[in-house]
Symmetry: C2
Subunit: 286 residues, 2 copies
């Protein structure tokens, strides 16, 4: 998907709410700067739970919400859908609101202010222009030297995530992969019940629960992880999620460590986040 | 409906085609001049028949079409729907096209050129700023002194049309009304088969056919109009149409004269346009 397709599809997603479509398209066109990435209808993690924002600028940590009435959709959308959705962490993000019940002039003034604010934020920060080709590329993060939750990093394939950690895979489909640190594993779980596994992540993303749906297998899984050295007790997690254009993404969640005290046969394995930032590794020279 | 509601609803109409929505919203927001009226998905009369244009600026006689593949919808939409639709005459209009199969940069450059062209046209012409309150007001046309087809004039009610011709009605529902010239009648027909009448207008709008669906009544209607002086042989026509926001409009079509040679019991009455511009009359002083 190129920038043209991405931008036009993102703008097209607001189609069911005409006020939202007006505000979002006006911001994007008046900003008129396609080095600034945007996402429409992005699920975000908030202290009050998961919610949708109408427009999100990931490079700037800025969200825009169009107040038409209700906009916290957590209760309106099936919980399943949210669990599978791409959810970004909003720590430190700024949220601007447009009240579309105001007059046309007020709405347009507010939008003008938001566009100014976006330009300010772009000038204030260490701004890396949006490059749709490089944002999903392992090279970008290998050069940067790290991956951090606050950068909202996601990859399109498991192999791309793996290749940030010293691999040079041309294809990789398994849910686990080795890491240069022998105590760490790369993990690509579905963090929602999916038939075989009943995995969960807490709303604040700090805890992941991992349990097989089959009681016998769950017990075996629990015991082997506590006792067998071949199972790593630290995992770098890239959760498999559905991007808002229907694409699959593997969203970086951090480094988690097995909590051997909290884990048990009934709850399953309990993983606690110990790092939001992890080092990347160059690909091996051939 | 105020300007805010009008603009947001017009922009919301492009929702099913994402490229069209992108082009239309970008033109409107970059132009950023709400003294320029626009209409989305306007039916127009062309030499090749009736068609839809994606964006129409009635004050400037300018249309924009987004080329996504097919855009002449005459064959794609039920003929009935077109007959009821609000169709404007495009004599002398300019049509600009945006080929959305081109690169993102090309598309945006083309849109930039169109915005420049709109500004040029606005500066070149005797530009009357869009006033949503006055555009459907009889006063506007009484002050102007005339109504002309090329101005795409329509009224929301029959009484408003009547009140451009010396009336001061507070309500009027009939399909005919008197005119200061005793040889002329004001007529507000449905120019499509509607159960009682099987009326038609030619694609170039020059000829209207009027015939009762009932053969006996059609004959009587024909004979009485040829022979009875109480039936005027000239009619100022405001056709009842469905506006593109679902509202009813009475669209000015011109002054038509009964063609006594062409009319007969089988065809019904044949009306030929003799003027595209008619004089308006002040309201009587009370």
């Amino acid at each position: 998907m190129d920038k043209k397709e991405y931008i036009i599809r993102q703008l097209g997603r607001t189609k069911n709410k005409k006020y939202e479509a007006y505000v979002v398209s006006r911001i994007i066109h008046l900003l008129d700067d396609f080095s600034v990435k945007f996402v429409t209808q992005q699920y975000v993690m908030r202290p009050e739970g998961r919610a949708l924002t109408d427009l999100f600028f990931p490079q700037l940590g800025l969200h825009v919400e169009v107040d038409e009435g209700q906009h916290f959709v957590a209760d309106n959308i099936k919980a399943d859908k949210i669990r599978e959705a791409d959810i970004v962490n909003t720590t430190g993000h700024e949220i601007l609101r447009v009240d579309v019940t105001k007059s046309f002039e007020d709405i347009n003034n507010k939008i003008g202010n938001i566009v100014q604010r976006i330009k300010e934020l772009k000038n204030q920060s260490v701004f890396v222009p949006w490059d749709i080709d490089s944002e999903f590329s392992p090279d970008t993060y290998i050069k940067l030297g790290y991956i951090v939750v606050s950068d909202n990093v996601a990859f399109k394939t498991i192999k791309d995530a793996c290749n940030c950690f010293g691999h040079n895979y041309s294809g990789y489909q398994r849910a686990g992969a080795p890491h240069p640190d022998s105590e760490v594993m790369l993990w690509f779980p579905k963090l929602f019940p999916n038939g075989e596994w009943n995995n969960q992540i807490s709303d604040d993303e700090e805890i992941i629960f991992e349990k097989n749906e089959d009681a016998e297998k769950a017990k075996e899984h629990f015991l082997s992880h506590l006792n067998n050295k071949k199972h790593k007790q630290k995992r770098i997690v890239f959760a498999k999620v559905k991007g808002n254009l229907g694409d699959t993404l593997y969203r970086f969640r951090g480094l988690y460590k097995l909590d051997t005290q909290e884990s048990n046969e009934n709850i399953g394995l309990v993983w606690k986040r110990i790092e939001r930032k992890v080092q990347t590794y160059p690909q091996p020279k051939c």
